[in-house]
């Protein structure tokens, strides 16, 4: 029996898929534990969903194959909250506002700031506090 793993991802639902209870099926049919961080339906009826899924790797794989039948885009790298390495000046203003330590000091000597996407819960606290506009939301 394989161990369970957790994957963070962003799903993009093109027009008209918003009314289908896809997440319900992830839980019911694929035994996944779902933790939704952020969801949004735009006026154009497109949907964005950022979530963690926990389950057996093969269940996750099958579930993703199921999700793809709805023309849903699965993004496992770029999440809803983005940190622009080039725009970041490593000032450290964000550090006390990030509740999970996703934005953190990667090197004590140089005080270089880095972003751990896996730790980000998409609370978006960093977006208004970054003086250099380094943090942004994809939706």
């Amino acid at each position: 029996m394989s161990e369970t793993i957790t994957k963070k991802m962003m799903l993009f639902f093109p027009t008209c898929e918003c009314e289908k209870p896809i997440i319900y099926h992830l839980v019911k049919d694929y035994n996944l534990i779902v933790n939704v961080f952020r969801a949004k339906v735009t006026p154009a009826e497109e949907g964005y969903l950022v979530l963690d899924v926990t389950g057996k790797p093969e269940d996750i794989e099958n579930a993703m194959a199921f999700v793809k039948t709805f023309n849903v885009t699965i993004n496992e790298t770029g999440k809803g909250l983005t940190w622009d390495r080039e725009r970041c000046t490593h000032c450290g203003h964000c550090l006390t506002h990030c509740p999970t330590g996703a934005l953190y000091i990667a090197d004590e000597r140089t005080r270089e700031v880095a972003f751990d996407e896996e730790k980000c819960i998409e609370c978006m606290a960093c977006i208004p506090v970054c003086p250099y506009g380094a943090c942004a939301s994809a939706f």
């Binding site: 550090l95 000091i105 700031v113 506090v129 003086p131 506009g133």
Partner: protein, 405 residues
């Protein structure tokens, strides 16, 4: 405390420059020099090391630039002008303007819908100029006999200008407050977003790498000192505004509050965009993040010793920006060292307070290393000051007088 160093002269400015020109100068950053001196001993290190580079990167609100557009046909004497809808000062000659870093964009709602976002303003225009972007100029005039044009709208880049010279009345504050908020609501300040009941603390200094903390008594940095301003070669043109040397200092002469400042200038056409960055401070306004590097010529042991200052020897005052700062009470909650601040947590009244920063040590290090490389290559000489910065003087307050008499 005496401001003159002990008479233990090792090198002159001319000797140091000859070594730089021959490509043999020994240059270390203010981040490296302490360990080097610990290893070599002060006397031998003072003979060996020619220059220690210092640097800082952070928001510097008192920054701006003088631009000359050249003349259109027919000519205009600009009486009001905007670049990318940001108002510039036109109370100068016909096509000279001054663009200030904190100027808001026309029709910015500022804090009308508190806290304002302040996405774009003077600092961002300066960033875009240095980045070589094409920007819009809109100008109005009342029209005169020799300058008949009354309106113009055009697009330009920094390369189209005759001059683009940064003229910053105040940069490189010697030391700075650590901001906290003792009130019960979140506040938005130039020191960042401050959570209620001292929920966080923000500082803004490069500490042991910062120029005037490595020359606390202004022994080498003075009017005329050559500086590295965002990659361009510039100089100190005057004491900075609010320069006030009188303050509490440690035994080594290191100020425990603001103290000295520098007025800097350099050709903006030679600047590097990664060190000239527009700043948006929620609820406060816009500013300019700037990278500055200053070489300290190691004239003698005393000068070298001062560059060996460490974060643990530098103290900053923790100040309440909720009530004390706006009401100018002068109360300091406590003093903390930069070593404590850099650990990411300080203790106030027995409670642990997480610490953030507005100043980038990472970028300051980058500047100090770039400047050190330029000096090693023989591309950047040190300049002997034309005049010392004032070693005395306190900051005056503005008295509100109800009547003229």
């Amino acid at each position: 405390m005496s401001v003159t160093g002990r008479d233990c002269s090792v090198k002159t400015y001319a000797e140091i420059n000859r070594k730089i020109e021959s490509g043999k100068a020994v240059v270390l950053t203010a981040d490296e020099i302490m360990d080097y001196v610990d290893r070599k001993g002060l006397a031998s290190a003072a003979r060996e090391v020619d220059v220690v580079t210092t640097a800082t990167f952070g928001p510097m609100c008192s920054s701006g630039c003088v631009l000359n557009f050249g003349h259109s046909t027919p000519k205009i004497r600009m009486s009001e002008a905007w670049i990318e809808d940001v108002l510039v000062y036109t109370g100068l000659a016909a096509v000279d303007v001054y663009l200030g870093a904190t100027q808001l964009r026309h029709a910015d709602s500022a804090n009308m819908y508190y806290p304002g976002e302040f996405r774009y303003g003077g600092g961002h225009v300066i960033e875009d100029l240095v980045a070589g972007k094409r920007l819009q100029l809109f100008a109005l005039s009342y029209g005169t006999d020799e300058y008949p044009r009354r309106e113009l709208r055009t697009y330009f880049t920094i390369h189209d200008l005759n001059q683009a010279v940064m003229v910053n009345p105040r940069n490189c504050y010697q030391n700075y407050n650590v901001a906290v908020n003792e009130t019960e609501r979140r506040i938005y300040t130039y020191m960042g977003c401050l959570e209620p009941n001292c929920g966080n603390a923000n500082y803004c200094s490069a500490g042991q790498l910062s120029p005037l903390l490595n020359d606390p008594l202004y022994e080498t940095i003075g009017v005329g000192t050559r500086v590295w301003l965002a990659g361009a070669r510039g100089h100190v043109y005057a004491e900075g505004t609010q320069h006030a040397a009188d303050c509490a200092r440690t035994q080594a002469g290191v100020p425990m509050e603001g103290a000295g400042t520098l007025a800097l200038t350099a050709d903006m056409k030679a600047m590097r965009p990664e060190f000239v960055r527009g700043v948006s401070l929620q609820g406060y306004g816009v500013s300019l993040g700037l990278g500055v590097g200053i070489p300290i010529p190691i004239l003698n042991e005393q000068v070298l010793k001062r560059t060996c200052v460490r974060d643990r020897d530098i103290f900053a005052p923790v100040v309440d920006y909720g009530k004390d700062y706006p009401n100018k009470t002068g109360r300091v909650i406590l003093s903390v060292s930069y070593e404590q601040l850099r650990r990411g947590e300080i203790e106030i009244g027995g409670r642990k307070v997480p610490v953030g920063s507005l100043s980038s040590y990472r970028k300051a290090l980058e500047v100090a290393n770039l400047l050190a490389d330029e000096i090693r290559r023989g591309d950047f000489l040190v300049a002997e000051p034309l005049a010392r910065l004032p070693s005395k003087g306190a900051m005056k307050s503005l008295e509100i007088r109800p009547e003229r008499k």
